[in-house]
C-alpha cells in the first residue's frame, strides 16, 4: 500500500519537474542555459521512461536526448550567438 502510494507520488512529481524544466528552457535568455535545461528535461524524461517500464526507450533517450542533442545545441549556439536578443 505504501509502496503503491510512493509510486503514485513519483508519477506525479516527475512530470511536474519535466514541465518546470521545459518552462525554464523557454524562459532562459542565455541560450546555453536553455540548452542545459533541455538536457535536464531529457534526463528527467529518461527517468520517467524508466519508471514507466520502458528501459529500451530510457537508454535511447539518455544517450540521444540528454547527450547528443545537448552537444549539437551547444555546438550551434557557440557557432552563432549566446544571448537570445539580437
Amino acid at each position: 500500500m505504501v509502496a503503491e502510494m510512493l509510486v503514485n507520488i513519483v508519477h506525479i512529481i516527475i512530470p511536474i519537474l519535466i514541465v518546470i524544466a521545459s518552462a525554464f528552457a523557454v524562459v532562459f535568455k542565455d541560450l546555453i542555459a536553455a540548452a542545459i535545461a533541455v538536457a535536464a528535461m531529457s534526463l528527467l524524461l529518461s527517468l520517467e521512461f524508466y519508471i514507466l517500464h520502458a528501459p529500451d526507450v530510457a537508454i535511447a533517450e539518455a544517450g540521444i536526448g540528454a547527450c547528443l542533442t545537448t552537444a549539437i545545441l551547444v555546438i550551434a549556439i557557440r557557432a552563432t550567438r549566446r544571448e537570445e536578443e539580437a
Binding site: 511536474i16 523557454v26 541560450l31 536553455a34 521512461f49 514507466l52 520502458a54 526507450v57 533517450e61 539580437a86
Partner: protein
C-alpha cells in the same frame, strides 16, 4: 490510482513548445520549442504503454506477469531518432542563416522585398 496527471504534463509540454515556436523570435528558441513538442509526444506514447503493476516487456526465464505494451516503445524509439535527425538539420540551417544574415531574429530574416 492517480488521475491523468501525466497526460496533463504531455499537454503542458506540447503547449510550452508551441508557445516557444509562436512567440519567441530567436531561431534557436524555436528549434528548442520543436524539441519540446517532440518530447511531449514521446512521453504521451510511453504513457499510453504503461500498465499498473506491470514489468518491462522483456522475458527473463519463465515469468508470467503483466507487461507494459511494446509497440509504443518501438514507435518512440523511431520518433526519438527522427527527432535528433530533424534537430541536427535545423541547427545546421540556423548556423548557415547566421552566416548569411548575421542575426537570429526571425523577423529580420527572409523578408520578401520582391
Amino acid at each position: 490510482m492517480i488521475y491523468n496527471i501525466p497526460y496533463i504534463a504531455v499537454v503542458a509540454l506540447i503547449l510550452i513548445g508551441l508557445y516557444a515556436v509562436i512567440f519567441k523570435r530567436n531561431l534557436i528558441k524555436i528549434v528548442i520549442g520543436i524539441t519540446l513538442i517532440e518530447s511531449g509526444v514521446n512521453l504521451f506514447l510511453i504513457t499510453l504503454a504503461y500498465r499498473q503493476d506491470s514489468i518491462a516487456p522483456i522475458y527473463h526465464g519463465e515469468i508470467s506477469r503483466l507487461m507494459s505494451l511494446p509497440v509504443p516503445h518501438a514507435l518512440t524509439l523511431t520518433s526519438i531518432v527522427i527527432g535528433v535527425a530533424v534537430l541536427a538539420l535545423m541547427l545546421s540551417l540556423v548556423i548557415h542563416i547566421y552566416r548569411h544574415y548575421g542575426t537570429l531574429d526571425a523577423r529580420k530574416i527572409g523578408r520578401e522585398e520582391e
